[in-house]
């Protein structure tokens, strides 16, 4: 259905790219995502969906859960895609430069062009929306995949697109290094996934998840020892490979480097989207997971993410560590095979993606206010926390939104992040896991320290004046500001009317368990 629609639309873009302007391509990609979201929404109320439909001979399996999360992913993706063209639009209005093909160039003001003359002829960057569409395709097929082969293929589709995305900015040494790192280590993890899958296949001869599920539930009861172990090792290694992709703890080491190196827009994409799809894959196929593994990984993620973040002075590295600790929380919620666990996972994923998206959007917007002469990189203008110093006095609204999102991340009560944490801790307590809930509480406190450091920096008076003062703040793209406003208000006012989100999550979770 919608997958086919996406594929055809994706195919048209490379053909048309030679004579279409970048902004149009971005708009088209945005519309594609939005439209496929609409299509998905249209089919949401098909009656048999609640019990799951197998498509393409059982290679794909769609349920209400996968469908609703697809909508979520598509909308988030379209929002992230909005960032660049609207930026360009502003620049166009300001300068009326004609070089429409080279839109990265348009981001750069003339002064920076002098330092980076090679930026021109960088036409391959025009493929950004195309690649984004590819990874979205990969993600969506991963969510509804129901076969080992399809799973691997869609993971690779997603990952390869991401590798390219990371190296998008060829002229930046750090971005290329990060992309290469990502590629090599990602290849390593793909090996693990492949190893796991082949172990499973060699032992069982099955690739279909449904059959595997049946087999596992049968042998799980009858043979305890020797026969079960191969399947267990297989799934274990498979899961470890997937954990690498979401950057969970002992396998997280690539994440800070990569996130730090690539342009901020790509970081936005990297921190939110691939995690989302793999986590939803976990939810969909939770028979594959060993809950002990998830708990260990969650524990390590929480500890490493919150403690290591303390020593960071680069903001994107810090956010990477914060992501790691949040992933730990999600994994923890995921490891409980109950309806509560599912609900808290879904809620946490939702709120985390929204808050994180908001933070990165604000980071990009704040980056635009910086003086172009003083920054080191044009694609990620804000690299150090100290660069945020005194931003409150130049753009109070944006800074307050930023602090609110950070507060929400650290789980301060009236904001949405608190409820996420609350549900996770609640689930952990209901399952009698007191130690882990204690760890959550302590690590939350520790991670609050670095969030507060950012906020403190924001509100400190600026010593060296590297901002374009008032006029810079007017230069923001209106649509992004609009989105930031909506997201921030959502974060604040979730408490007042939480019913729609909680109810829909509850319904989704219920269909997953009882239908």
């Amino acid at each position: 259905m919608l997958l086919l629609g996406i594929i055809t639309l994706v195919m048209t873009i490379p053909l048309a790219s030679t004579y279409l302007s970048t902004i149009l391509i971005h708009r088209i990609a945005f519309l594609v995502l939005l439209f496929s979201g609409l299509l998905t929404y249209n089919t949401l109320y098909v009656t048999p969906l609640s019990s799951g439909i197998g498509i393409l001979g059982g290679l794909f399996q769609t349920t209400l859960l996968s469908h609703s999360l697809e909508i979520f992913i598509l909308i988030l993706g379209s929002i992230i895609l909005l960032i660049t063209p609207s930026d360009e639009k502003i620049k166009d209005l300001n300068k009326t430069t004609t070089n429409m093909f080279n839109y990265w160039d348009n981001l750069v003001s003339n002064s920076v062009k002098k330092f980076l003359p090679i930026v021109k002829n960088n036409t391959q960057l025009i493929d950004y929306p195309l690649i984004v569409l590819f990874t979205t395709l990969g993600m969506i097929s991963l969510i509804s995949s129901s076969d080992l082969i399809i799973m691997f293929l869609s993971i690779e589709t997603q990952s390869f697109a991401l590798y390219i995305l990371a190296t998008m900015n060829r002229n930046s040494e750090s971005a290329v290094a990060a992309g290469l790192k990502y590629f090599l280590l990602g290849g390593l993890s793909s090996c693990f996934i492949l190893l796991g899958s082949s172990l499973i296949y060699s032992y069982t001869g099955l690739t279909n998840f449904e059959s595997l599920n049946i087999l596992q539930s049968v042998i799980g009861q009858s043979f305890e020892e020797n026969s079960y172990n191969y399947l267990a090792i297989g799934t274990l290694i498979l899961t470890i490979g997937l954990l690498f992709k979401i950057g969970a703890a002992p396998l997280h080491s690539w994440a800070p480097d990569v996130y730090d190196g690539v342009p901020t827009i790509v970081t936005t994409w990297l921190t939110i989207m691939p995690k989302l799809s793999i986590l939803i894959f976990f939810i969909m196929n939770n028979f594959l997971i060993d809950s002990n593994l998830l708990m260990i990984s969650a524990l390590l993620s929480l500890l490493l993410g919150s403690i290591t973040g303390l020593a960071q002075y680069k903001i994107k590295r810090l956010l990477a560590y914060s992501t790691i600790s949040h992933v730990g929380l999600i994994l923890l919620a995921l490891s409980y095979d109950t309806i509560n666990g599912l609900e808290s996972t879904l809620f946490y994923i939702t709120q985390y993606s929204i808050t994180s998206l908001n933070i990165f959007l604000i980071l990009i917007l704040l980056g635009n206010t910086l003086d172009k002469n003083s920054i080191t990189s044009i694609y990620s203008p804000i690299q150090y926390i100290s660069q945020l110093r005194g931003k409150f006095y130049y753009n109070p609204a944006l800074s307050i939104a930023f602090s609110l999102s950070l507060f929400s991340m650290s789980g301060i009560p009236p904001l949405i992040g608190f409820f996420g944490k609350y549900f996770v801790i609640n689930t952990a307590l209901m399952n009698g896991n007191y130690f882990l809930s204690l760890v959550i509480v302590i690590t939350s406190v520790i991670s609050t320290v670095y969030y507060l450091q950012i906020i403190k920096t924001l509100f400190l008076p600026d010593t060296n004046n590297n901002t374009i003062s008032i006029s810079g703040s007017n230069n923001l793209s209106p649509i992004l500001v609009y989105i930031v406003a909506i997201l921030t208000l959502f974060i604040i006012f979730f408490m007042i009317y939480p019913t729609p989100i909680l109810n829909s999550i509850h319904m989704i979770a219920t269909t997953q368990y009882y239908c």
Binding site: S174, I240, I296
Partner: protein, 662 residues
């Protein structure tokens, strides 16, 4: 109407405090004073309705604390005790307001002053009218705060701020006792309502009641300046004189006594507490009267007189004669307010001179002030047939009629205190008005009689000081009067009023009066004709010691400052060694350092060198697989994690400075 009594002072305070700048000095004077006069009229009506017609009113506003079985509401009750207490509070407060219009007229902060005064009145009304102990406690704290604000009204004077701090700290000690009493009451009775507590009191263990009563007594000691926690009252005289008249003589200091009267159903069942209260009260009466003998500051003498009178009140509460205590509260309020206001008038006239040794001969210059002050002084020393006489006499006599050791103790102590009272009051009068002028010439040239607004309150109070005692004696303490009905409770075993009135030996009965009159006349004679003898007595070795002893207030301040210095030193030591030392090192600083170091250690592992990363990932895969499949005990995992904290990166990180991978 009943709520208006409480609210009008609050509104007046808010208006003159918040909008004083808009209203101007005269506007806020007008609003607060008029509000108080109106409240005064209302409370007279209330007195008529509730007190004379016996129809108690209770107003339940809304729930305040609603926690399981513990319910506290904002409720007010107006029984005969409350409405009678309203009379001195509101009446004197309105007179003081009126007096202050003139007295504080030249002050740049007039609005603030009037706002504080009204706020104080409001808090006092809250204290009196509440129908549970928590509302009372709110008022209790409120008057403490207002007292602090008013004492330090002239906040640029170091002495004023010092004494304000002393007052609030001493009151905090009392509040501590009070709050323990409240907690104990919640624990024992499960509620704070007067009605529930008092109806349950007979069924509660006496020891528990004694504990509660003693805790209440600590609160009373601080608020009503009984011996031990009294030090703040004399120094509180640093505040403006109207404040001294209103707060530190007539109303706030009686809050403690009021509390004892209010909680009489509790106290009555604890004989131990009663004995303690009696002894403490009579001792205070004696000690403060003797200190008053040798003080030289006009206001301070009156302050010690107040403290001594409060001792009387405490003693009579201990003797279970709450109606007599209450009767004396009202009488005392009138004549003591008059004494203070008149003293204020003298000080005003003498260009703010307060030392009695530098006054003298003012009787001719300030005839009106002299007359009212003379009346007040006579009433203060319980000269027969003035207000003070009726109440003080019966207090002293009820001590003897208890026929017990502590009763006799109270009798003798208070009798001598009465003698001392008469001596120091007469000394005050003589030095101020009769003796040869000792002040600077300028002061005398500029003396002026009290202006109109100051004279009105003086006149009214003078009349009341003369007649009120006689008029209301039968109402409050007449034999068989049912005025107080259920508002206070005297255990049937403790009723001694008949003995006190009719059964005492004639000598005992007349002794206080005789001593008082002897003291009065004797002092006058000594000072007029043979003052040298007094000087010689003072200069003798024993006399000098005694004088120093009394003048230094029994060395209470010295002991306290040594003691407090000691405690503060210990506190400094514990702060330095335990708080900022050990605990800080283990707690905040240590934890922060631990986490920061760990964070740096772990972060330094992220070398960014791809082979390192790959190796690291493969190692963790192996570890994870092993942990899941072969590790049964989760505790081993904890050990594994804790190594993260201990691992020191210096031993196994390779510094790679490759330009490509950084």
């Amino acid at each position: 109407m009943y709520l208006a009594i409480i609210l009008i002072p609050l509104l007046g305070s808010i208006f003159s405090g918040m909008f004083g700048r808009k209203l101007g000095a005269q506007g806020s004077q007008f609003i607060t004073t008029f509000g108080l006069i109106f409240t005064c009229l209302l409370s007279f009506t209330a007195f008529y309705e509730v007190g004379l017609n016996h129809s108690p009113v209770s107003v339940d506003l809304f729930s305040w604390i609603d926690s399981e079985y513990f319910l506290v509401s904002w409720g007010f009750t107006f029984d005969s005790l409350t409405v009678s207490m309203l009379i001195p509070i509101v009446f004197i407060s309105s007179l003081v307001h009126m007096y202050s219009i003139s007295y504080m007229g030249g002050d740049p902060h007039t609005q603030r002053f009037f706002s504080y005064l009204s706020a104080f009145t409001f808090c006092m009304l809250l204290l009196v009218c509440g129908d549970n102990l928590l509302v009372l406690f709110v008022g209790w704290e409120g008057v403490g705060v207002c007292s602090y604000l008013l004492i330090s009204f002239w906040f640029t004077r170091i002495a004023a701020t010092k004494s304000a701090i002393q007052a609030i700290v001493t009151n905090k000690v009392g509040d501590w006792g009070m709050s323990i009493a409240l907690f104990a009451i919640i624990f024992v009775f499960g509620n704070l309502d007067y009605s529930s507590i008092f109806s349950l009191a007979p069924y509660i263990n006496t020891d528990i009641l004694t504990f509660i009563s003693l805790c209440i007594l600590i609160g009373v000691m601080a608020k009503s300046a009984q011996l031990g926690l009294h030090a703040w009252l004399p120094t509180a005289m640093e505040g403006p004189t109207p404040v001294s008249a209103l707060i530190h003589s007539a109303t706030m200091v009686t809050a403690g006594i009021f509390l004892m009267i209010r909680t009489s159903p509790l106290l009555e069942y604890s004989s131990t507490a009663l004995i303690v209260i009696t002894c403490l009260g009579s001792l205070s009466a004696f000690v403060f009267a003797s200190i008053g003998l040798v003080q030289n500051d006009l206001k301070r003498i009156i302050a010690y007189s107040t403290a001594s009178q409060l001792g009387y009140l405490g003693a009579v509460c201990g003797l279970s004669q709450y109606n007599i205590a209450f009767y004396h509260i009202i009488n005392h309020a009138f004549f003591k307010a008059l004494l203070f206001l008149a003293a204020g008038s003298v000080i005003h006239a003498m260009a703010d001179e307060q030392d009695v040794r530098r006054m003298g001969g003012l009787a001719k210059l300030l005839p009106f002030t002299f007359v009212v002050m003379f009346i007040a002084a006579l009433s203060n020393i319980a000269f027969p047939f003035l207000s003070g006489f009726y109440s003080k006499e019966i207090i002293i006599l009820s001590g003897y009629s208890q026929y017990s050791f502590h009763g006799s103790f109270a009798y003798w102590m208070t009798t001598f205190a009465a003698l001392f009272t008469s001596i120091y009051t007469t000394r005050l009068l003589y030095l101020t008005f009769f003796s040869i002028p000792n002040g600077p010439r300028n002061n005398y040239e500029n003396t002026h009689e009290a202006p109109f607004f100051m004279a009105i309150p003086l006149g009214i109070l003078a009349i009341l000081s003369v007649v009120f005692g006689y008029l209301s004696k039968d109402l409050f303490i007449g034999i068989g009067t049912d005025f107080f009905a259920n508002a206070l409770f005297i255990h049937p075993n403790h009723i001694i009023i008949v003995d006190a009135e009719f059964a005492l030996p004639l000598f005992i009965k007349l002794l206080p009066s005789i001593l008082t009159i002897c003291g009065f006349i004797g002092t006058l004679l000594f000072y007029e004709f043979v003052p040298n003898i007094l000087v010689e007595i003072k200069l003798s070795k024993f006399g000098r010691m005694l004088y120093t002893f009394l003048n230094q207030k029994y060395f209470f301040d010295l002991v306290y400052s040594r003691l407090i210095g000691l405690v503060l030193n210990i506190g400094y030591m514990t702060h330095k060694v335990i708080d900022r030392g050990t605990l800080e090192l283990i707690g905040p600083t240590g934890l922060t350092n631990l986490f920061n170091n760990t964070s740096k250690n772990i972060a330094s592992l992220d070398s960014g060198y791809i082979p390192n990363l790959a190796l690291y990932i493969i190692l963790s895969v192996i570890t994870l697989t092993g942990a899941i499949l072969y590790l049964d005990d989760a505790r081993l995992l904890l050990i594994f994690i804790s190594t993260l904290f201990l691992l020191n990166s210096r031993h196994f990180t390779t510094k790679t400075n490759s330009p490509l991978f950084y």
